[in-house]
Symmetry: C2
Subunit: 332 residues, 2 copies
């Protein structure tokens, strides 16, 4: 059995380009006792993967050159020598960026039987959804009375975060990069949506949308967004720092906000987090999220690229704002 994989040819300098990647076809080994052959149906591309393309020590090791990339995927067992994963089992794994793989059971999770499409296990019910929930609840201590600012609000994490906050009864102020994305969020019931590319002063736009001030900022962007949040947060406000996508492709580091003294005057709490530190709470999260998805209280959209040869374009598209909701690649 052959597998087509995407490998990292060279480390991107600045914005990733197609040259940094290549397709490779490999022959998979024969199944050994305990192993399964999985055909991936969906794979995920996520902004955090940009960080793994840099050769540095971090919370997760960097991708190796000439090796296949990794990431979330869901697929189906098509041959099995493991009775826990019979043929037909649907599984999620971190072995995306390839059409097929052979694996022992370790690292495979059987998808629960729910009236929810498989691809949501890479989105609202998977890592991005759990990220949104972790930033709002264990990190951000979301309260019903909060006014919550969410940036990159039409992305996989942001769009789910908006809807979780709305379900909690909070007031949501969302920022996005196009009028289409803004309309899309408004259709989900988010009242205050700002197109940061056309709004003029972001601080003034947020202050106008939330004259009562911001209590919790879900940070996905960095840069001007962080400056505007520091300006508009209330005393004892919180920032859950999930990402700073505006800076992931910087070749020269961008200076931070000039208004950090607000941290003192407003007694702000700023806390960075990574979803993997919160997996222990996945059961609690998924119970709520599955219910919300089934009831339509979270609408999980995705932007789909078709085929393993489009995986690189899907990934690069993340940094060009080409996705509304979760960016996915359909493999089969």
């Amino acid at each position: 059995m052959e597998s087509i994989q995407v490998i990292l040819k060279s480390r991107p300098q600045g914005t990733p380009s197609p040259d940094n990647f290549a397709l490779a076809t490999i022959q998979l080994p024969e199944l050994q006792e305990g192993e399964v052959l999985v055909k991936n149906r969906w794979m995920s591309v996520d902004p955090y993967m940009r960080g793994r393309m840099v050769d540095r020590k971090s919370y997760i090791p960097p991708f190796a050159i000439d090796a296949p990339l990794e990431g979330g995927a869901v697929g189906e067992v098509i041959a099995s020598k493991n009775s826990d994963f019979p043929v037909g089992s649907k599984v999620s794994s971190m072995l995306g960026w390839r059409t097929h793989f052979v694996s022992g059971a370790k690292g495979l999770t059987q998808l629960p039987t729910l009236p929810i499409s498989d691809e949501h296990f890479l989105g609202a019910l998977g890592m991005p959804g759990m990220t949104a929930w972790s930033g709002l609840y264990p990190v951000g201590k979301l309260q019903e009375s909060d006014t919550v600012l969410i940036s990159a609000a039409s992305g996989a994490v942001g769009s789910v975060a908006c809807q979780i906050a709305l379900n909690a009864g909070a007031t949501v102020v969302a920022t996005v990069g196009s009028d289409d994305k803004a309309d899309n969020l408004r259709a989900k019931g988010i009242e205050h949506v700002i197109n940061y590319k056309t709004c003029g002063s972001l601080t003034k736009a947020i202050a106008a949308a939330a004259p009562q001030g911001i209590d919790l900022y879900f940070e996905n962007v960095g840069g001007e967004h962080l400056t505007a949040a520091l300006n508009t947060l209330n005393s004892f406000g919180r920032i859950a720092v999930c990402g700073m996508i505006s800076q992931y492709n910087d070749t020269v580091p961008t200076p931070g906000p000039a208004n950090l003294a607000n941290i003192i005057a407003k007694r702000l709490r700023i806390e960075g987090f990574i979803v993997s530190d919160h997996w222990g709470q996945y059961a609690e999260f998924s119970k709520h999220m599955a219910q919300w998805l089934i009831e339509g209280k979270v609408e999980a959209e995705s932007t789909v690229y078709d085929g393993i040869d489009q995986a690189t374009a899907a990934f690069i598209g993340l940094f060009e704002g080409k996705n509304t909701g979760k960016m996915l690649v359909k493999l089969a």
Copy 2:
């Protein structure tokens, strides 16, 4: 009875200059029933006062033009129509920057009878000491196993913070602005002291002093210090943000650190605080601090300017690093 007061003539632009201040002699009113006449013996000058010289909304109202400045002071009741404060009572108040004042009992605190010099109630046993303790304990969650980085470590807050952390059994890395100040801290048992003006790369100097990394950073300075702390903090490190004195006299805002993405990768918690939010814990703090002072486990130094006409010079000196320990003005 006359009182000599320091009034704010104009709002400083950038570094405060003597022109921004003036002395005024006023005639105090006759004592009414319930009032006392206080002769101030010591007054405090503190960096936070710079913030009150700016006309803006903040956690404390700005100083008014042509009105006397305010700040911590300790003095003695020299005439009294209030039986709770008989003549001879020693009191602390927020009515510094003047030689005498008339006041009702409100806002006066009787000094406890302890074998501790009065001026320490403006320093280690007063606002600066309580600030150090609040940043380390309720905000910073100091642990014995921590390596603690403290900036402006020879100042009123920093020098006490160093010694509290040392008393807790923590490893302390301190930064100061002169070799004399460094020697002074080493004499108090602080092993790792860095002169940031001569050390070259501050990040490298901290990493060399603490190869195990920093767990808690007590932030008094901002700018390059914050950058270096973000570089050297361990995962799940904390920053207690007390002040950013390097920026208080900026006329153009200084950009922040370019390495804020460390907040995510290291899951840092950054929390700003103001001592007045923690006064409820003063009794707990002062019990420990009084004991430490009596036992010599905190050595509280001060730099003393003499006379109300030197108060302005003492205040301006804070921004020139002229103090070792608490900056005080002796009034009588």
